[in-house]
């Protein structure tokens, strides 16, 4: 097993290197100059020249890359050109926010998606099925940011039930955390619920056709028991896989919702950084994410081996 870990780590090095090269080059292919963006209105050419030297932007791209490598090797992931904040601190601030939002969204998506999917499958062809389908289609086609703004206007501005924006950690104040997270989570969750509903429906239809379900019915089991205990369990397997995929998507792709509800999340961090041409943040965040992914994959592989002895010889 140790040799496997070692081998995997060795493979990880070129992978990370490639990721670094890609981010570095792609960023510099973007039009725009980070110093000009930073300077905003105050672009005194003399000052800009000095800053260019200070940050090493006056050197060729390969040389800049080598400088970056040297920094990384000494454990420095860089800092924001715009505010001077270290990248690691920025990730530490934003990642927990996005994780809380993603978990809440997924819970909402599951709570809506699975029951409606089951219902639609069981009542296939009836009005219930059509209604569920119509709702799920609208869920898929309504843009997140629009739903978000409508919810803010209705729930926060008119009814004053929930705060329109902001974020509170669940470990800090669970009640406030619930109040601030529920709306954005619903916005994100409703879109996913639609996907989940459609997958649940088709998985259930598949399973309900199988022989063992007919046997269960023939045994004289009550319909709810047939559906929930026998059919749903088997139908859930692809749903679980899908949910984990959706969760990964949520971590990266909640930008618009974060923007509307002004939640200081991970997605917003990187998108803002790209728009500001904040090279330091973009590079640092992408690198950290790549390393995290590689480590997680490695851990998963190790766990497979621990759990499943058959893999050990391989």
């Amino acid at each position: 097993m140790w040799s496997l870990i070692l081998r995997r780590l060795l493979v990880a090095i070129p992978t990370i290197f490639l990721v670094m090269v890609f981010v570095f080059i792609l960023q510099r292919m973007l039009p725009g100059d980070p110093l000009l963006v930073m300077a905003g209105e105050e672009r005194d050419p003399a000052v800009l020249e000095e800053l260019r030297k200070l940050y090493g932007f006056d050197r060729s791209v390969p040389v800049q890359f080598l400088y970056w490598l040297r920094e990384i090797a000494s454990g420095n992931f860089g800092s924001s050109l715009r505010t001077g904040a270290p990248v690691t601190e920025l990730i530490g601030q934003t990642l927990p926010v996005t994780i809380q939002l993603a978990v809440a969204s997924l819970i909402i998506a599951l709570l809506i998606g699975i029951p409606t999917g089951v219902l639609a499958a069981v009542k296939k062809g009836t009005w219930l099925d059509y209604v569920a389908n119509a709702i799920s289609l609208s869920g898929l086609s309504i843009p997140n940011f629009w739903l978000g703004i409508i919810l803010i206007l209705f729930v926060s501005v008119n009814l004053r039930w929930l705060p329109a924006s902001g974020f509170v950690s669940i470990f800090e104040n669970p009640v406030e955390a619930f109040r601030t997270t529920i709306m954005p989570a619903f916005v994100l969750g409703s879109g996913l619920a639609a996907t989940l509903m459609r997958h649940t429906r088709s998985a259930m239809l598949e399973v309900l056709r199988l022989d063992y379900v007919r046997t269960a019915r023939a045994k004289g089991l009550l319909e709810p028991a047939v559906v929930l205990k026998h059919a749903l369990r088997n139908a859930l397997v692809p749903i679980v896989t899908l949910s984990t995929l959706l969760f990964g998507q949520l971590l990266a792709g909640a930008v618009l919702t974060e923007q509307v509800f002004t939640i200081p999340g991970f997605g917003k961090l990187i998108v803002d950084a790209v728009f500001n041409r904040d090279y330091g943040v973009v590079q640092g965040v992408v690198l950290c994410t790549a390393i995290a992914f590689i480590l997680m994959n490695l851990i998963a592989d190790v766990l497979y081996i621990v759990i499943n002895p058959r893999l050990r010889t391989a």
């Binding site: 039009p31 905003g40 005194d44 000052v47 715009r82 803010i152 926060s156 501005v157 902001g166 200081p264």
Partner: protein, 502 residues
Amino acid sequence: MPTLARLTRGLPALAVAALFVLPASAAEIRIGLQEDPDILDPHEARTFVGRIVFNALCDKLIDTNEKLEFVPRLATSWTVSDEGKTLTFKLRAGVKFHDGTPFDAAAVKANMERAKDLKTSRRKSEIASITSVEVVDPLTVAFKLSKPDAPLLAQLSDRAGMMLSPASFDKPVGPKPICSGPYTFVERVQNDRIVLERFADHWEKDKYHFDKVTFRTIPDSTVRLANLRSGQLDMLERLAASDVKSAKGDKSLKVDSVVGLGYQGISVNINNGARADTPLGKDKRVRQALSLSIDREALTQVVFEGLFEPTGQPFPSTSPYYDKSFPPPKRDVAKAKALLKEAGVEKFSFEMQVANSPVDQQVAQVIQAMASEAGIDIKLRSSEFATMLKSQTAGDFQATRVGWSGRVDPDGNLHQFVTTGGGINDTKYSNPAVDKELNASRVVYETAARKAHFDAAGKILREDLPIIYLYLPAWIWASSAKLDGFVPNPDGMIRLANVKLK
């Protein structure tokens, strides 16, 4: 029982004081900003919103009031001597920085030296005329200048005059700035919020009524307004002009506005690389025609609900340097056509670069429609902000829709844009007569004498039109109707002195 009598006499006053002080002392104000401020180091900072935060966090030597006059802050008085080459400040006694370090002449010297010497300082050009700073006595400091510098006072009323605790210089200032302002730094979450709390030892603490000040970054103006309406904010800056009507109709809200110091216009590439080679860049009559084809009044009515002011010059109408003999130009399509004919380009087309925000697009489309009636075909190229800046400095534009947030001193609105080699002279316009007048305006201090130079330069610039000025934006703030005591200032800042939530 003299003591008891004195005690009881004081009681009603105490009770009254308690009534007023207690509710206020528990207060917090939450202010919505349109952008995230950049680094919180006054010597390195660049953004407009950053200046709003600094106004709560840091004291400056002097300030400007709503009439654009200089008023004392950390400096109680100032004098110009030695033929305009020495600027002497008397300093306020008993002022402390947030870390307890006393504020004195040595601290001023240390700050000015940092602003001049720090590698990443953005203040260098603002205070370039200062050759040395002398500590005369603990409460008197003299700035020695290489030449008279009229715009310097205005610089010192902004970030260049903000004082940091010299004890904080050995560590990076940005992550935890230590100033002497009414509020101290607590925390910052990038792109989300900056939290400040009351500084108990501030020299003017009685005027500040909040325990906590939170600045929140909410870029979308609709969302920012929704947050004010739902009570997550007490105040916001830059309400969209299109939202003013609905905000004014809401009894729980209050709207304040004042015409600002900045302008919006069109910069024409006169001599910046190959793309300057257009009829528009080469012939001033064509630029005059373009200017005449635009109905500025209609533009401000259509896009900005009439809240912004049409103009033909770079200074706000509130400024003493505004040239009253030149009212906002009226539209004259016939004259525009005649000028084009004279220039031999009755029909021509050029490309105008525009930022990709909805409002900028709208402005550009209105201009496009108006110009087409005079036979000028404008092709719009919308760019994302970073790209636009780059092509502007690189000369990759024929014309570009630009704006300037404005400076207190008129020099800041003009000199660097139109003088030869000026720092932001993207049009690369160059005219020795203009250079001469504008350089001369820098070395005299009297308003009337300076105005004569600005008027003379203005006259030439209105002929040559490297920048076609269109309108003066207004700053619009919306706040809870409970907010009291806020004074709109043309510089767009939010000063919290005497501001309360009832």
